[in-house]
Symmetry: C2
Subunit: 352 residues, 2 copies
Amino acid sequence: MMKIFVPAANCQIKEDACAYIDQLTKPPGSLGRLEQFAAELAGMTGNLFPEVTPPGVLVFAADHGVVVEGVSAYPAEVTAQMVYNFARGGAAINVFSRRIGALLEIVDVGVAVPIDNERVIGKKVRRGTDNFAKTEAMTPAEAEQALHVGYEQAVSIIGQGARTLIAGEMGIGNTTAASALLATLTDEPLERIVGKGTGIAAERLVHKQEVIRQALALHRPDPAKPLEWLAKIGGLEIAAMAGAMLAAAERRIPILLDGFICTVAALVARQFAPNVADYMIAGHRSEEPGHGIALGLLGKEPLIDLRMRLGEGSGAAVAFPLLAAAAAMVSEMATFSSAGVSTAEAKGEKER
Amino acid sequence: MMKIFVPAANCQIKEDACAYIDQLTKPPGSLGRLEQFAAELAGMTGNLFPEVTPPGVLVFAADHGVVVEGVSAYPAEVTAQMVYNFARGGAAINVFSRRIGALLEIVDVGVAVPIDNERVIGKKVRRGTDNFAKTEAMTPAEAEQALHVGYEQAVSIIGQGARTLIAGEMGIGNTTAASALLATLTDEPLERIVGKGTGIAAERLVHKQEVIRQALALHRPDPAKPLEWLAKIGGLEIAAMAGAMLAAAERRIPILLDGFICTVAALVARQFAPNVADYMIAGHRSEEPGHGIALGLLGKEPLIDLRMRLGEGSGAAVAFPLLAAAAAMVSEMATFSSAGVSTAEAKGEKER
């Protein structure tokens, strides 16, 4: 296993940031959670005036053998079709990445069919996972390789200048794998983790829960042995996202989380290095019911709640401007003294 | 009273937009409220591919005579000091306006002291309102003049290219006037409208409620006669914001609402032309407790909830990128047929 060292966030700089933010020309606390996020960014980056732009968006694509069990409404071929859509710039994550001036890279870490496109980074570890309802999804060595692909891609995009990491995914069947991973981290029943939030028909939902239940009984995966845990369930893109997050946190680069799959990948990353959670901000709350459980395990409250459930990194990309606004607030606003503005008349009062 | 004609939003184009959005390369409904906002923008603008950029931000500043009653923690001089801070570019609304590429104009519609700055548009109707706890805040003719200032400034900024209107404000004491206006539109008790959300000390909060209670008993203001209603309570900047919204709606320009004061101004505008609410999208939910009541009266659910309570238009400016993302989604995403992506296998299922 590769060596990863993630430092804890810097509490002192976070406190300094809070004190400085109270001097800006606004009633103390009146920018609400933007103030909190700005202070957190300072603690993550070690910089009182954190820079989050440009963000780097990595979309990892891979297939899931479990799709043969009939757990998804979309055929597996959609994974590859969407990868070509990403390459042409027509998907939601392309649109939202352009709006936020993001560096965007599409990485094939395990699509079932060959992908031949110069805009797609070919890092296929294997052609999709095996069906984890019957057998292990991959070997621990393959899981580590996928983790390493994510790690290396994050190092690369940070080297190109990315100051925030957004990890996205495309993989038909990956809510099944993510639900199974999450189920091993919590006592919540599968009925609360695997929802019909995405619009799947009720019969198929029950079937999907049953597939996961049987798979967990078969493998008895143990999150305390994270490589084996990942190998038993998958997926390749989830491992790659976790690896990318580890690389970002190691470099004190803030991580803006997307929805359900991404937040489960964040929990995977935390199994390898607990401090990695210090560098995470939750972008949005997904409609997928397991997402609330995953966010609760991470202790994160998301920036936005627009009932999105697309994945690809789209929720994080849509939320990113709020994080950028928080950072700009600290760098660009005047202080009461620099602007010659009077402060509140009475101590303890904050109203305009 | 000036003649204003606000057409209803176009339901047919809104429906067409919903049908088109379902063809984009994503599971139907998976972009959640972004899809809903995109459809509403289509109905407002009459354009299936609405353009919301650049936004135009108008910040109206004015003083409130009621401040002598001791209803605010900040001295009245802060209104003028903040106007100069706006002119220098150091306030929150400057920072957030730059981030979203907004046209930004600062308008003195009634600051108590002379403002001499080339970056401030001088349209002073009078030097602040009178103290509405003792007498009418202004004459109906002055209220109409303030409304007209807002109307003309919106016409001007739309003429310069603004495709969304954000109306902001600065005026020490204006939560008191806004609370009084709102109290006449609802049966909710003053204790629920005038909160301590902004951090005011408990004793002063009770005093502020009492000042409003007595003023309402004195004036018995009637929202059905909107000019007299506005004249009795104020303020000049609230009237101007309402006028700006009327001009925007008349031109089918979407209005992105800020917090409590702005949403009360939206309710004022609706007293003049009910259809104006068709053109409004709520930007954020403020900490000020009356804001939830005002949003309820308008029937709007906000884009973000970050516990902000600053005003100036800051909440709307921070939320604007979400609206822009909704518009970009429609204009730029590929459809299933254009991208050659398979749709869901079974009718009624929407999951990836």
